[in-house]
């Protein structure tokens, strides 16, 4: 167990590599109760959210969600999050655990008329069920009562008179669901998932596998790959930024970057020979010149090679560009690759 943003969480249950393979090939479940949940409600909530977030909530029908960013005035990332339209004028935001207080304070501090904005993080537990068998597990719970939400949809289901939110979202690249239930139902829901999931050989998974899975997909981790001095455009995530919106916090910087191009880009790399796993904050070299520092790194259990990401100056940020990563004083060769590093469904069952 380790401290993660103030929470005591398991790095692993049976082994990082074992859990990683379970999710890619079968079914795994993560406790994501540490994450935060905010609700915004009111006639002006969409307009208000559109002034604070980069993506365009007007695109969301009720029951749909989108990945988006909360930026500071310089266009830097405060947090990445998913916003779900759960009612006509009601939105749920799921934010990173380590940023709950900061996100809430930032958003609450932005003037809004008639929009109620509340932090319900303490009231919700969460579980991420991920893997090719996820849909079958959903059906074993809800077949006949609810049909599966489609990818990026959220369903409010009633369990014993309480509302559970079930979204077809995830951080692993596999099919899956993120379930948000009332906190008092946490232990029972976890046990129910493991019990019904036993039929599909479900495995509980910890932080270690969560990191290796998301890194293979090149999904960014706030605090590592995203920071208050990096923009979504530099991170290559411009599709989640709607510059057609006339106004949102950070828009000016992003519009400039769009116009003139970014000076550095977040790219994934793969180690090309036997070496220790790359990790974050390792120096990246082009020849003898240090050009960057890694933001993330690990061993990819699926690719069986070291992988990572770094903000590389644009002139070197090309696919197939050879670089070196300095690992504990020695340099090892790597190559910049295309995102994602792993294509879901490409591994043999």
């Amino acid at each position: 167990m380790v401290d993660f943003g103030g929470w005591s969480m398991p790095v692993q249950y049976t082994g990082i590599i074992d859990e990683h393979h379970a999710v890619r090939g079968n079914l795994g479940v993560f406790d994501i109760s540490h994450m935060g949940q905010f609700f915004a409600e009111g006639a002006d909530s969409a307009a208000w959210l559109n002034r604070l977030l980069t993506n365009n909530v007007d695109r969301l029908a009720v029951g749909e969600c989108q990945y988006t960013f909360l930026l500071n005035e310089n266009g830097g990332v405060i947090d990445d999050l998913i916003v779900y339209r759960v009612g006509e004028t009601r939105y749920l935001m799921v934010v990173n655990a380590s940023k709950i207080d900061e996100d809430f304070a930032w958003m609450e501090g932005q003037a809004r008329d008639g929009v109620s904005f509340e932090n319900h993080s303490a009231h919700y537990a969460g579980f991420a069920v991920q893997g090719p068998k996820s849909a079958q597990l959903f059906d074993s719970f809800f077949s006949g009562k609810y049909s599966r939400p489609a990818r990026n949809e959220i369903l409010a289901v009633e369990v014993d008179g309480l509302t559970y939110f079930i979204a077809r979202t995830g951080y692993t690249g596999e099919d899956g669901f993120e379930v948000f239930c009332p906190a008092e139902r946490a232990v029972r829901s976890w046990n129910d998932i493991l019990r019904k999931g036993a039929e599909f050989a479900i495995k509980p998974c910890g932080l270690g596998a969560r990191d290796t899975l998301r890194l293979e997909m090149c999904y960014p981790l706030n605090g590592s790959d995203l920071a208050c001095d990096t923009t979504p455009l530099e991170a290559g995530l411009g599709i989640f930024v709607d510059l057609h919106k006339p106004e949102f916090i950070g828009r000016e910087t992003l519009a400039e970057q769009k116009k003139h191009g970014v000076k550095r880009r977040l790219v994934p790399f793969k180690m090309t020979g036997p070496c220790p796993p790359p990790r974050s904050h390792y120096a990246v070299f082009k020849g003898d010149q240090k050009i960057a520092e890694t933001t993330s790194g690990s061993l990819s259990p699926t690719l069986k090679a070291g992988i990572g990401m770094a903000y590389i100056p644009t002139e070197f940020a090309r696919i197939n560009e050879q670089i070196d990563i300095e690992i504990r004083g020695k340099r090892f060769p790597a190559v910049i690759e295309k995102k994602p590093l792993h294509r879901v469904g490409s591994t043999a069952n």
Binding site: M1, V2, V11, Q12, G15, I16, I17, D18, G208, T212, P274, C275, P276, P277, R279, S298, L299, P301, R328
Partner: protein
Amino acid sequence: MNVPEDLQYAATHEWLRLDGEAGTVGISDHAQAELTDVVYVELPKVGAQANAGEQVCVVESVKAASDIYSPVSGTITAVNDALTAKPALLNTDPFGEGWIFKIRIEAGEDIEHLKSPAQYREQLGSADAGGEV
């Protein structure tokens, strides 16, 4: 937690199997469990001088890199090359096929500072959960 009786232990979780003036060194069951899946071992060089209590090689798990400290001073006489291709041996067989290096112990080297199995078991019993390797 497996703590074989025929070994001596360092507080930093390495074990030493004595065979006259020669020793074999590895990491304990506790250490491999703390490390989680070992994915890379940086073996020491044959012929290198090792000093008791000093870092002699590095073991990497998915989670983190960990320094391994030599329990005794001496000269490294052999290293377990099998660990290069199969670093997971440290997890699956830490006291057998997961041995890391053999060492010719320096004359006059005092191994009294190492722990007996009972003393090491006591150390594990009083250790905090999640202690460093």
